[in-house]
Symmetry: none
Subunit: 201 residues, 4 copies
DNA sequence: GATGAATGAGCTTTCATTCAT
DNA sequence: AATGAATGAAAGCTCATTCAT
């Protein structure tokens, strides 16, 4: 099955497999965009680095726009899966929050091409309305329930969501791209700053 | 004196004047990039919307790269000027922090073309090393002095800087581009969350 | 017996059978070319609309050129068959001429895809020398004999042939593609105009 | 003035001048299409044979479609001008008809690229409705007045128009592209056949 | 015979840049 | 300084054709 999407299999949401060719094209595009931006990722190069002919991409995607958008949807699912999994691990809400933050950080840190791609995509005309994403879903419930339990400050959940993603992104970019690498202690600082701000008392 | 740069005049950092034509070109480029991305801002359109001929741009800029980079430098100065000014207003450190955050938010909220441009630029190949910016300067001293005074948590100042900018950006984008507009109360929440996280006791 | 050609079987010229697949491919190509021109009839679409795979066409034709040329040859035979049949029906030469003209008109009127295809083909590089067709054969003899019998004006038979086909085509295209539909009376006008011009006395 | 169109200057309809570059591009396209068809006339070749760069064409035409359509409109005007001029020369209606037919024949005979282009264009998807052209205008009035004067058979004028053009085209193509060249006597035959058919008495 | 994924040459078109005016 | 016609490299994409299955 080539269409990237999700299916419900028992209690878990899993990503359907994507064809090997599609994965190669995704990987190639992701790396090129990270390295050279949308403009520096012509279809010919995406194809070349993926080891396929230029025309082959058009069997899997309607065009460059479609490729970019599917690339985003695919990686968005990866991030959602990380949040979903981390949100289920930990005894306390605080522990679960720390797990979410740390797992996201770890993911971006090891997949800086996704991090860069996301930021390029979200602020580009490909993402027509430039709306932030992930505003619904697990994280929304996580914060809402925390507020109901009196553990989280009464704030619009969407605000908490974007502050969380913003915090992870800022830390990851600082570590990856500046002369200021972050060690474990710095990361604890970063997540504690956020938690202390959003937790009650 | 067309080259955009900064000079120290007594205690103030001021921006040198830029020619009217340059300003028109900047404005045109900023709007086009916001609306259509780098890819949708060809020099001919930048020129057209600025009311000049295509060739004219090349009297002011070496090429498109140069234009983009100068556009960034110019707006970076605007942001620095806002931080510098806000950092000097307020009785307490907390007040000054709130002013900085709010002034930045206000600026991005009223200049979403700058916000979008920044995010596109910083993650693009134009910004070769993708290094976050603003890591030195007024904000650095602001946090450092706060730590020395025991009012700010002992954390790498660069981390505090990116978290601050990240927080402002996240809030501004949420307000501008989502279906979740932020009112004054939400904004107070946002800045308080951050301050509570970085302030001691 | 897939190769399309003609054989003489007794007094009749008959078309050899063509395979069902070939017929489907011909029909598909004819309709696509009529609707979208050569340029809008890619092999993949021809195959798709014929209900076969792209590769299958290459079992029946050497390539697109070959397909087009065979398509022409096939329909040329259909037209020749119509002329041949009509030329044998009618008591007088005039009656037979009217039958030829009317049968041709009827054929084109009911097969506008053939009409359009012919005009596209004959003026295209597929028909390298752009030579008009049907210059020999039944119609040639028909006119020659008419001249010998003193019933037809002494003119180069080829001229009479192209004027006849031109007259039928012009009328059919007027009826099919303009806002000026032709009724039975108009058709009689058309053929009478031609006959009055070529008949003696 | 670059836009090809017509203006009324006193009693004459004249064609506005078109720019030299445009004329070169038209000429190049016409020759290539004649020689190789639409498919064999890529923009790069059209440009090359016109002595301009590929991009230059796009200063004068929106795209290939636009070029083709303007090419048609331009040559259509040339043909209309010929008819208009010839229709005004000659003492009798018959003389004028002969002049129209002969001038048209002469034009196509000397501009076979126009003849071939017309036939390709009219039957192609460029001419979306495939409607025959020239159905109104000078020729329409010519036949209508002839009928009112009792000199021309009572027939739908549009039918007479397409028969006239069809007759000229058939003769020109026979002469140009077959092994049957037409001499002056043949041409007189051709036009007399038509006139005898459409004239009364 | 039949398939359709894969190929890659070649198409139309865009656009940063130049330069004669 | 200012113009904008002209350039031509390079982009996205199509499609006739092949070939492993």
């Amino acid at each position: 099955m080539n269409v990237q999407s999700t299916v419900n299999v028992g209690p878990y949401i899993i990503m359907e497999e994507i064809s090997e060719k599609k994965r190669l094209i995704f990987e190639s595009a992701l790396d090129l965009i990270r390295e050279r931006g949308f403009h520096g990722a012509p279809m010919s190069l995406v194809a070349g680095n993926a080891g396929v002919a230029a025309g082959t991409i058009y069997h899997y995607f309607k065009g460059k726009d479609d490729l970019i958008r599917e690339l985003y949807a695919y990686n968005r699912e990866r991030v959602i899966a990380i949040v979903d999994k981390a949100a289920g691990t930990g005894a306390t809400r605080k522990e679960r929050f720390f797990n979410i933050w740390n797992q996201l950080y770890e993911f971006y840190n090891q997949n800086d091409n996704v991090l860069i791609f996301f930021e390029q995509f979200l602020n580009s005309p490909y993402n027509a309305d430039k709306s932030p994403n992930h505003l619904r879903g697990t994280l929304y419930s996580f914060f809402q329930e925390g507020m109901e339990a009196g553990e989280i400050r009464q704030v619009k959940p969407e605000l908490l969501i974007v502050l969380t993603f913003g915090s992870v992104n800022s830390a990851a970019k600082l570590n990856l791209f500046s002369q200021v690498p972050l060690d474990q202690s710095d990361l604890r600082d970063a997540v504690e700053i956020l938690w202390q701000g959003i937790a009650t008392g």
